[in-house]
């Protein structure tokens, strides 16, 4: 069963001059995670805003758990959770106060709101910070609290708009851990991201969007196959370039490409670290010392290059979901 369906969504801004969504179609199977991948301005946030009832499309249709988001927004709000690029919690109030307030707004009653707040604080490792105002939280803590706020009543469908944008690597890792736990619990999740790696880690399926349309759709593996998967890259001294190209091409099965200036030899590989070991051994046998060697995973740019023939372009910046007016989240 499809939990989320978007059909032919169109949304324009500035009196039709900026087309944010151009006939976008999307669906999410119940209990699965869909990663919506695209550069800034591709229409990710607009899609989430429409599906979460914050914005009306110019045309098209969308349902969440079978409920029409345009005709029955109140019913949709009862079953969704939403967490945006910017932590939308009250900065002056403490984490605990925020969660209790949102609990009461969900009509949980005081006792239950308190119990639920404590439970969520515990689960997101925020118990120690519970009584501190949010303005003293780190970026990662804010995001976790924001996510907690969207989980107060267990939502049937969860929307996360770029949950790790602006976080440092550690904050990102923590957030991934939290989201992976959620996914194990069987929530239906629509997640937008600019990072292929993030979609790869968290999503069952990926939809790549560009200029308001879905341009590719499939599992991470299928997508990577299309993009070419991993790439082996070696840097050697000038006099060894020719021999190295030979070795790399043989292991890869594809002709290696060379960046003469950087003395960088690249080729797609399908066997990952095994290919890496093999190349290292052959280089060693030939008496060549690799200055740098590694496997490079495809980036968003590689995906776009493969799918559209151009790299991901940033379009006019959209308003982020729980955003307000373009303030950057503090680290």
């Amino acid at each position: 069963m499809k939990s989320v369906i978007a059909e032919a969504l169109v949304k324009t801004y500035d009196k039709g001059n900026v087309k944010a969504l151009d006939n976008l179609n999307l669906d999410v199977e119940e209990g699965t995670v869909l990663g919506v991948l695209g550069p800034n301005g591709a229409g990710k946030t607009t899609t989430v805003r429409i599906l979460s009832t914050l914005l009306r499309p110019d045309s098209g249709r969308a349902t969440v758990a079978g409920i029409d988001v345009i005709k029955n927004p109140d019913k949709v709000r009862e079953i969704i959770g939403l967490s945006g690029q910017y932590a939308a919690v009250d900065e002056i109030l403490t984490g605990y106060d925020n969660l209790v307030m949102f609990g009461q707004l969900y009509h949980l009653g005081k006792k239950q709101s308190i119990a639920r707040a404590n439970e969520l604080l515990e689960r997101f490792s925020l118990t120690d910070a519970a009584k501190r105002p949010i303005k003293n939280y780190s970026g990662g803590m804010r995001r976790r609290l924001d996510l907690a706020a969207s989980l107060i009543v267990k939502p049937k469908v969860l929307f996360l708009d770029e949950p790790t944008t602006g976080l440092d690597p550690r904050g990102r890792q923590e957030m991934w851990g939290v989201i992976q736990e959620l996914v194990k619990g069987g929530v239906t999740l629509l997640l937008t991201t600019q990072y292929l790696e993030e979609a790869d880690q968290l999503a069952d399926e990926i939809a790549v969007i560009d200029t308001g349309k879905v341009i590719a759709r499939g599992t991470s593996d299928a997508l990577k196959k299309q993009v070419g998967g991993e790439r082996l890259e070696v840097v050697v001294d000038q006099q060894h370039v020719a021999k190295t190209v030979e070795i790399v091409s043989e292991v890869s099965g594809h002709a290696a490409t060379v960046d003469e200036g950087l003395r960088l030899i690249m080729a797609p590989v399908s066997t990952g670290s095994a290919a890496l070991v093999e190349v290292l051994r052959s280089l060693d046998n030939a008496g060549i010392h690799a200055l740098d060697i590694g496997l490079k995973r495809p980036s968003l740019d590689d995906v776009f290059l493969a799918l559209t023939g151009h790299v991901a372009e940033e379009h006019k910046e959209e308003e982020p979901v729980l955003s307000g007016r373009g303030r950057k989240a503090k680290k």
Partner: protein
Amino acid sequence: MSAVTDTYIITRRQLQLLTRVPEVLIFSTIQPIMFVLLFRYVFGGSIQTGQPGGYVQLLMPGIFVQTVAFTLAGTASGLAEDMKKGLIDRFRSLPISQSALVVGRTLGDSLLNIVVLTAMGLTGLLVGWRPSSGIGNVLLGFLFLLGFGYALSWIGAFVGLSAKDFRVVQNVSFLVTFPLTFLSNEFATTTGMPRALQYFAEWNPVSTMVAACRELFGLENKFGATAGSFPSEHPLVTSLFYMVLIMAIFVPLSLRKYRKAAG
């Protein structure tokens, strides 16, 4: 019923904010008290009013009205800040009454007015303000003031939700409030103004409110009453009319704006 509960929770959040940042309460109280003292002792000495009890009797209603007029700016910047932080979108994605956030905000700002007016009234009593109309009428006067502040708070809501930039909000509120409060009978008689301004000052809701309060506090309305004009003869009715008119326009406008916020 849930709309009432939702509104109550939002109003309580605002009071919670006041306890977390007590500076807000302190400064919103200190400023009007400072005005009372400044006008009482700086201008009071040189303005000849012939008013028994002195200038302070005429001054207090004026300063009360000016203070509640600034509720407009308070509500506007509060909502603009919620908008900036993305809180408005968060609230709009919740299954709650779609008017709760704005209604709660305006009510919370009015509760703050109660505290501020009380502090000002007490200061006034200390520096010689002596309303002579009996406790019932004085309380009615304060009720009028709260009502006026509440109505203006809805203009503020509209400004706060409309502004594209947080900094604009401050400027717009200032531009709305300042001429209204000074082109009035608040601090000086309007008869010294050019004729066109006199006319404006006469019908200015701030003037009719000041006149209404003066009447309720037991004064003859000496400032700016062009004898025989409707607002000067019937300041209470005119003020009530203005409050209803403002709310009739700005409540629906603001709620509509909220539902489409950042759309």
